[in-house]
Amino acid sequence: MRKIIDWVEHRTGLETAIKNFLYEDIPASSGWHQIIGSTAVFFFVIQVFTGGLLAFNYAPTPGDSYNSVKYIITALTGGKLIRGLHHWGASMMLIIVVLHMLQVFLYGAYKKPREATWMVGCVLLLIVLVFGLTGYLLPWDNRAYWGTVVTTQITGMAPVLGPYMQRLMGAESGVSVVTFSRFYALHTILLPPLVMILIGIHIYLVRKHGVAPAVDDTAPRRKFFPEQVFKDTVGVAIAFIILFTMAVVADVPLGRLADPTDTAYIPRPEWYFLFLFQTLKFFKGPLEVIGAVVLPGVAVGVLFLVPFIDRGPMIRLGKRTFAFTFAILGILAWTGLTTAAIATTPPNPEENEAAVTEGTGGVQAWQKLPPPELEGLGYFRKQNCVACHPGAGKKGIGPDLTEMPAEHRNAAWLNPHFKNPSSVVPGSSMPPVTLNDAALNSLSAFVLKLTPQNEAGLMSAPDFAVQGAMVYQANKCNACHQINGVGQKLGPALDGVGLRHDRAWLEKHFADPQGTSPGTIMPAYKLNATDLDNLCKYLLQLPKAGG
């Protein structure tokens, strides 16, 4: 072993270089409070490592990206863990970087001659935020899509530069495929080497000026290795254990595929941007630009200039009352704004479908659909059709389904096309839809119903209704009942059934038809809890015939 080391050392001087790095003199007052910087570097390494692993199985195009993330977390062993590490690592990275900054701030370690070190650190903080912003879009689910819509809109508000920055993000007319590619390029190609270079400069500057000592530190200096390195290692280990636990315990959600037509979705940014989001609410109308751009801009500017604002000599930690007050006020403001933002966030329809039931507006377009067509919408969602057919007026990989040519407007053309797209449309990149014929008929029926006028209304059908219609179809309820003019008339038509019966009655009716309707020929149905729930909710939403 020694021989190999000597061989390498003789040719490269590597051992000497490492020793010079490790046996650096540090002030006797160094200690536990200075371990955060190393932990931040360690987390950057973790992000590069896990990010690289994700990239091995990630398709950087909208739509496909969603499918590949799904593939990573469902089909690949350990994929969920790797994604968890990357996701929670990003959040922890930000926390660690801010803590590092807070420590430097409280100790006044940015003072002359260390101003440049501080400012490079500020740039690194901003880049971490850009990492978070760009990475947020990459799973291409509803959360990613709508979150980025808000981000790009805010950018557009910036005076003078706004429209240009929006164009740079390819987001002049909403989040587009171009936005996606640019975010991906920033996140994976441009920013990582930039951060490496800046970390290099940052550490070089720390070394050049030495670790900032305490004011009254006159004790003999010590070596960085091994005592301080050991303390750093403890910090790294604790942070890593927290990260690993989070990645194992806390599931990273992958919502529904990004759906630009989903008007019910309430976009929210990542938690560390919530305070900005909340600040925005205090500024209405023409003042909005203040909350969106001016205030954050001023805050960043002040942060950069801290070493020039606070120019006095180093004083003891205990005497830095102003710095402490400032930091505490900052933390309080951040916490307050974030809590307020969380408290005022209504749950999303994806999480709380029942909420839709209570809203009694006009009859929605989807409520007028016969069950087979609503079932077809279920397949439309399951098959992620919206990935390539995003809807009227939106650019997608596939054609706009509301504007299909007349010769395609029949099941005889659509069904073979679903089964085997490229045999009907040579060169089509559409993947085949693997469903049985009955399901394809429903899917066709739904697609044929689409027009530019009704599309939004149909697509907004809540999940419970679609699932309910699927249960209705699977149990062949239509063999006896009619909804919206489709089905047999052996039993009563179910339009407006919610006006005649309530949920409890329906449940009892399914379980024991004789009990609620003596003499009925309806057989009993044993449905599982989810199916029963969806079916009842769906039926109760049916409008009166002709209503």
């Binding site: 030495g210 091994p226 790294v236 797209p421």
Partner: protein, 170 residues
């Protein structure tokens, strides 16, 4: 490296404490490295958990196949490829025996995957790459091919030949 601090040499730790610290640093870092490397290796090396649904594709009419002469047929099938299901053209060399039994060979030579063809005069399958040749029942006659031709699963359903996934080769 501030000038005003380099007045005296830095103090060194006693050797035993040094050793303990060094050992702890290496130990902790190795554990963290393992906690990252093991999941990474599993993630990269374990085969994906895709549900393999055997798909059967209806191809040629049994009656249209000549007896005793291999015919290349092409058909469209769906294949799971990573996160995608793709619809692709596939081919098979189909041999119908006098007894009506049908064998369907996958179209690639078992040596390095070149497409072979049926050579009627010599009554063999010949691979143009390294001149492997196979008999009509797929056995290796000459060349570097390591095993007989691979086959698709086949079944006959109301007069039509249906081709399934490739059989696992021995």
């Amino acid at each position: 490296m501030d000038e005003h601090h380099s007045h005296e040499p830095a103090v060194e730790l006693p050797p035993t404490r040094r050793k303990v610290y060094t050992w702890l640093i290496h130990g902790t870092m190795s554990l963290i490295g393992a906690a990252l490397a093991v999941p990474a290796a599993i993630y990269l090396l374990f085969p994906p958990k895709t549900r393999k649904e055997a798909e059967w594709v209806e191809t040629a009419d049994l009656a249209s196949l000549p007896v005793g002469t291999p015919t290349e047929i092409s058909f469209q099938r769906n294949r799971v490829d990573g996160w995608k299901v793709i619809s692709e053209k596939a081919t098979a060399w189909v041999v119908k025996g006098a007894d009506g039994q049908v064998t369907a060979f996958t179209p690639n030579c078992t040596h390095l995957g070149c497409a072979y063809h049926w050579d009627d005069p010599s009554h063999t399958f010949v691979c143009p790459c390294h001149t492997s040749s196979f008999s009509i029942d797929g056995k290796v006659l000459a060349g570097p091919a390591p095993r007989p031709l691979d086959r698709y699963m086949v079944k006959i359903e109301s007069g039509k030949l249906e081709i399934g996934p490739p059989e696992a080769h021995a």
